[in-house]
Amino acid sequence: MLTVDGLSSAYGRIEVLHGISLDVPAGEIVALVGSNGAGKTTLLRTLSGVQPASAGRIVFQGEDIQALPPHARVMRGIAQSPEGRQVFGPLTVEDNLRLGAFRRWDDTVRGRLEAVYTMFPVLAERRRTPASSLSGGQQQMLAIGRALMAQPKLLLLDEPSLGLAPLLVDQILAAVVDLKQKGITVLLVEQNASAALAIADRGYVLEVGRIVHEGEGRALLQDPKVRAAYLGV
């Protein structure tokens, strides 16, 4: 579904991604793990088009989307739940969700909204409250829900477990598995490598802007080098 080939990206003159190549097959969960500063978030931002690429190609469903602006990528079916939630604080929960459908506005918005509320009932309870007053976990659900409102074919999830209590982490990751079963392809970025690789079909390990390991999710989880470097065992 998504093929990234030799992708580089820089902030000013400092290059942070050095020729990343990876594959995200349709219907799978692909985990991208690595420590702080490895370039995971930069990679996702480059995929969404909010961070310019300096070299390489991004091919989505057979089309090179590298030159497309962010909104055109949303329209083709790529949605992102960004690192740090980035909800629209002063706006209500429901407005946040409706804005998720900004580029996919049709009669099915109501139904999609209900689907998100079914998935995260707490959001339904708080639909009229400003997003800034939600707890961290609720904001995370909102960020994921907002991305789902765009009816994505490919969902980019950046650190959905960051700063959440273990119980909430399980709940969020269970939701990710759920999405896969509904046919949504997921590219999951996580510092919490063991949790991410456990649910992933494929995994990539990113280290200072380069892919250093790749393989099946569970296989990576067993890999002694990966375990030593990222799982703290």
């Binding site: 969404s48 962010p70 949605a79 980035q86 706006l91 804005l99």
Partner: protein, 329 residues
């Protein structure tokens, strides 16, 4: 610029004479009152004139707010939209266009100038620091004034009042019918803007862009379009304000500077970025100016706004309704 002061004062003079004349003629509807009543009447008179000018400052401040929220840019050409609205209408009427059409064309022209300003001056500098962008708007403001000198002229101009010039007596003071147009027009624009922002998806997209630009881009909002929209809307709001107030304060190619500074003071007092703050700040600056001119000296009338900015910066930099950043991590 200096024209704002005498224009208002000539008017006050007229009003006072008018009321005196009615006193002398023994009109029934003018109460003859004692010292306390006179004080009250004078106070009311200042409130009326303060609210009238304040309403225009509020509209300018609202324009600042819209653009600031969408981009962190303070558009100092904001006051020039007020001038384009007023001057455009004056010259179109002189060319024989009926008032409603003249207003419409002038406002559309101001919107076009606003969009061009965004397209030609702001958009090419995308990614520059807000300070650099603010410099650009100051340059644009000077440029607009230069062009206005050529397209229009350097004289003061006025418009006929929309519904007569007979002052309406309220509580011993008088208010011009045009003041109701100005204040009513301001309220209508504020309400319209509120409806747009709160009740339409595009309006929500503007609010979303103001709240979190990265997230706005990620959900597919084209922030360039939102910024252009903010420039166009703020131009329209400023131009309408200019049309409404011109019968009272007169207009000239360079009145924009003072409107921009007063509107900026209003936005700062209210808390930059807050629409309610902009309106309250505008009315406050207008009232303070009127009281300053009435009770102290009209010489320092224009200083009031700047003293207000200084006090706000020193005492409460976030303004009355400033953004409190309460975001959970």
């Amino acid at each position: 610029m200096a024209g704002l002061v005498p224009a208002i004062h000539v008017l006050f003079g007229d009003e006072v004479e008018h009321v005196d004349a009615r006193h002398k003629a023994g009109h029934d509807d003018v109460r003859v009152c004692g010292a306390g009543c006179k004080v009250m009447a004078e106070f009311l008179q200042l409130v009326f004139s303060g609210l009238t000018v304040g309403a225009v400052y509020a509209l300018v401040a609202l324009g600042f707010t819209l653009v600031y929220n969408a981009s962190d840019v303070i558009n100092f050409a904001q006051g020039d939209f007020v001038m384009i609205g007023g001057m455009g209408t004056v010259f179109l009427m002189a060319a024989g266009v009926a008032l409603p059409f003249a207003v419409l064309i002038a406002v559309v022209a101001a919107v076009l100038v606003g969009l061009l300003l965004h397209r030609l001056a702001i958009e090419p500098a995308r990614g520059a620091s807000p300070v650099a962008l603010i410099m650009i708007t100051i340059g644009a403001s000077i440029f607009i004034k230069g062009v206005a000198q050529i397209v229009f002229d350097k004289q003061f101009h006025s418009l006929p009042a929309f519904s007569g010039t007979d002052p309406i007596a309220i509580g011993g003071a008088t208010i011009l019918p045009q003041s109701f147009w100005v204040i009513g027009g301001m309220l209508a624009l504020v309400f319209g803007l509120w409806l747009f922002l709160e009740r339409t998806l595009i309006g929500k997209a503007v609010l979303a862009t103001a709240a979190n630009r990265l997230a706005a881009r990620l959900v597919g909002i084209n922030v360039t379009v939102v910024l252009a929209l903010a420039f166009g809307l703020s131009a329209a709001i400023g131009a309408v304000g200019g049309v409404l107030v011109t019968p009272i304060t007169l207009t000239r190619y360079d009145v924009g500077t003072l409107f921009a500074l007063k509107g900026f003071a209003a936005a700062m007092v209210g808390g930059m970025g807050n629409p309610i703050g902009a309106v309250v700040g505008g009315l406050l600056i207008g009232l303070m100016e009127a009281f300053g001119a009435g009770y102290l000296s009209s010489t320092y009338k224009d200083a009031v706004a700047f003293v207000a900015i200084l006090v706000v910066l020193l005492v409460m930099p976030q303004g009355l309704f400033g953004r409190r950043s309460v975001e959970r991590v």
